[in-house]
Symmetry: C2
Subunit: 381 residues, 2 copies
């Protein structure tokens, strides 16, 4: 084994618990925030949830303005517009509230800060710092974006671009399961499958270590144990809490180990309008099936995390894949490319696009050719 | 569930791998060290290992002096003498090399730094800061001291005292399994049982959370999977590496969750000269047996980490305790109080002393009376 560095990168603080979002004003104040811009997406804005949080901050004497002009996966124009608003309004603090897209946008706006840069200048690793305070409040469980140094955007060529820097980790992550109680079953299911993908992919990544394994295993245990309950009974606070913690652990795990071919094959679907969680959920069992010959033992070791009996060791890898397939079948998410409106003739182009994600494919336990990528997509038809 | 904070406290950096101690000079230089005092104990000093590390640092142009006047659990006089040497020699950097006692002493000497304080003034929580650079190199696996904000000392009344502060976490932890290849089987076994106790106790602690569970579970997996191999074949580098990682994870886990009655009952044995790991190993299965009625389900959930088949769920908690008993029987460690020279008439006094450790007993899943503490000791006779 080559020597390696066990890096523990994480938010400065992580607050967890029902009602903990009520401490948002205190948190902003402690970090020296004097005028906060709260970024969220239009969908969430219609529920009134972000307004409530903003009012709470303002009531504590810290002016807070809502900016809800975000929708779908963030592109450059969206981020640059939000960043302009931040500068024009002389804000000094960013609060991100929402799913991965809103949180990623908030991370970028905080990093762009009061300087003159635009998003397109920041792609890559360690290109940015951050002077502006940043608190993230996830309302899905989910991307785990609140616990990663990554933010992903669609560039002018409709290609996924990553900004990666420890400065993108928030000063505080606020995980309040009560904010997720009204998340509809379909979104709970799709974002939950995304969290599961983060954990399982990190577990299988060839760039994992003892720390990412610790996060990934516990993340699988929490998500596999609570996802179906959270979907069936959205008001179950314990299941919602476990999902938020599982999503957080997925973020911590992938920060170390990285995701794999599931995410690489998922990006071309995102480009064609398929929600991120739906795409990952749909691909997860198929990619695992493809990876099995190269990761049978690692996959088998995940069986207890899925609550599978460990008695028959021979068939365990298969049992894990079957369990994930069952989840996909039982959850209210799309199960085929047809259901998400992607046609068979798109497959060669998508396969070629997926192979461009070398950063992710380097983590995958089995190397992937154009033909094999096409084969996986075809099994999703 | 009450809201809580998920704190990720850890060393600034953690380097892992065979040969990684060869980077010690680089690490000290990067941290701005100009004159380093390397603290270690007499036993390790006789092997020549710390001298080799010191020479390596000096060869890179950073003067390094060896201070090896440490032996057994550190008391106030020992720490204050080392601290005096640090000041008198105008050092600006501390390197700790050894087991938990040496690392705890190094942590205290670095925190006392160039100021005028003595150890006795620093007991308690958040009483100290640290200006002096600190690198810790564990040579046992072990206490996990390199990953905790705690340091433990024997005060003038022969009572265990704790200094707890995030400033006691080192700037860098250097985990080099090749440094542990020559550790004798008895010390490998005893320190390994200590690491196992940290992981299992953290898992059962009523103050655990998803993060400490992640660390604890993976720590059990690594230690349970490699301890017997490391004892039987000390030169097995992979097993030694797994043990160091398991010990580190135990430290990270107990930093969050705390240890329990095993450690509370162990301190009185330490006072009577029983090595820390030996005492914990001997107590671990007996305390688990006592705790079982209050932690059956949690204990059962650890079964896969011990490699136990999960088919028969009913008997799993018992199976975990039995597996730990087997380990104790098979490893070259003391199995009874008689073997470590503690007599039955000491038991009432030891039970009373153990109950003073409220900080630890608050974490225990079952509350403990004088009679029950005596009962556990008696089962160790």
């Amino acid at each position: 084994v080559e020597p390696f560095e066990l890096r523990i990168q994480s938010p400065g603080r992580i607050l967890f618990g029902a009602g903990v979002s009520g401490r948002l004003a205190t948190v902003v104040g402690e970090l020296g925030g004097r005028k906060a811009l709260l970024l969220t997406d239009q969908g969430l804005s219609r529920t009134g949830l972000p307004q409530g949080l903003c009012v709470g901050v303002a009531a504590a004497g810290i002016p807070c303005e809502l900016y809800d002009q975000l929708a779908g996966e963030p592109d450059e124009a969206t981020v640059d517009r939000a960043s302009e608003r931040f500068r024009a309004g002389r804000f000094d603090f960013v609060i991100g509230v929402g799913g991965g897209s809103a949180l990623d946008t908030a991370k970028a706006v905080a990093a762009l800060g009061t300087g003159g840069s635009v998003l397109a200048e920041t792609y890559g690793k360690n290109t940015i710092t951050r002077e502006v305070g940043l608190v993230l409040v996830p309302t899905t469980a989910g991307t785990g974006s609140e616990a990663t140094p990554n933010a992903l955007f669609i560039d002018a060529h409709r290609t996924k671009q990553a900004v990666i820097s420890p400065h993108l980790l928030p000063d505080v992550a606020v995980l309040d399961p009560s904010l997720t109680l009204n998340l509809p079953p379909r979104i709970t299911a799709a974002t939950g499958m995304d969290a599961l993908a983060h954990c399982v992919e990190s577990w299988l990544s060839v760039n994992g270590n003892a720390l990412s394994e610790a996060y990934a295993y516990e993340g699988v245990r929490l998500v596999a144990g609570s996802l179906e309950t959270a979907v069936a009974n959205g008001a179950n606070l314990e299941a919602r809490g476990n999902m938020l913690l599982g999503s957080l652990l997925g973020g911590l795990a992938l920060t170390i180990a990285g995701t794999t071919a599931v995410h690489a094959l998922s990006y071309p679907l995102g480009k064609r309008g398929v929600p991120h969680g739906v795409a990952n959920g749909l691909l997860l069992p198929r990619v695992l099936e493809f990876n099995r010959p190269a990761s049978e033992e690692r996959l088998a070791a995940l069986a207890p995390a899925f609550g599978l009996p460990v008695a028959d060791r021979a068939a365990l890898g298969e049992a894990v894949v079957r369990r994930i397939q069952e989840l996909l079948v039982r959850l209210p998410v799309s199960k085929t490319l047809g259901e998400v409106g992607v046609e068979a003739r798109e497959i060669p182009a998508m396969a070629a696009e997926s192979l461009l994600n070398e950063r992710l494919l380097r983590n995958n336990p089995r190397s992937l050719s154009q033909e094999e990528a096409e084969g996986i997509y075809r099994r999703c038809l």
